[in-house]
Point group: C2
Chain length 159, copies 2
């Protein structure tokens, strides 16, 4: 499993679409989640802040939901970009997705103080709608499973 994302899809979003609290590179207060390929899987690594707790010692579920969410839209963007013949870092602006639905199953409490690794499997439902199945690991143990249905951002979204 790659430890670090070299080329993240979020690095290549246009500035207009880089303000997301979860994954926008321009949102200084945000989480700045970054999602890249790890072979045929997608990956996002994030170490929650100290304040991101449910109770002391365990990560807040809503924060993990945010990780699953942005990992999902980022993974869908990676997959459609690859289908179109592109990889992050090749200079071509990738598609931008929005979340249609988010599902998170909390399998066991997620410990604080260690990076979380989200690993995604992407499946095309139709060209503008993708499903991303995600497992979130802490110290090699899967604590959370998630599913995102991501849709290509409609032009009307910004109007």
């Amino acid at each position: 499993m790659a430890e670090k994302i070299v080329h993240a899809i979020q690095d290549d979003y246009s500035d207009d679409y880089s303000w997301c609290y979860g994954c926008g590179k321009l949102n200084e207060a945000g989480l700045k989640l970054r999602t890249g390929w790890d072979g045929e899987k997608t990956m996002t690594v994030y170490q929650p802040r100290k304040e991101h707790m449910a109770i002391p010692g365990f990560v807040y579920g809503g924060l993990i939901g945010s990780l699953v969410d942005c990992h999902g839209t980022g993974s869908a963007a990676l997959a459609l970009h690859r289908k179109n013949g592109h990889e992050p870092g090749d200079g071509v602006e990738p598609p931008r997705f929005v979340t249609a639905s988010l599902h998170v199953d909390y399998i066991r409490p997620t410990p604080q103080g260690t990076p979380l690794t989200a690993v995604g499997t992407v499946e095309e439902i139709h060209p503008k709608k993708w499903k991303v199945i995600t497992e979130v690991y802490a110290k090699g143990v899967c604590c959370v499973k998630g599913e995102v249905i991501a849709a290509v951002m409609p032009e009307t979204f910004t109007k």
Copy 2:
């Protein structure tokens, strides 16, 4: 619809369980979500911060997921507390729930700059497991629907 929560269930959690990033009254960096009864429905009102955006003008879905999450566990706690003969503010410590699963359907983009109101319907699945169906409104329009399965926090959670 009540505009303000007078007695929130989170006000009555013991200090040990008041550190949640979403709804802990002691987590200074957190969202401090507060959930109370509005007749037979439950309600949480929260105005997202400026940085909680997906793109400028629209609220970040992961933040809404956090709202649905804590509104869900808070609503379950309210319902079990009422079943046990108690109401927030009566001086009895309520049960504390954890999220077993979270589902969020993003119906339409959620505008920024206005409070969001989560309205919940609570159903007992069994005495330690409750389902909370939530609708999130912005300016009276339902933008998001969610479902949380909440379980009474097991004693092992903190050991």
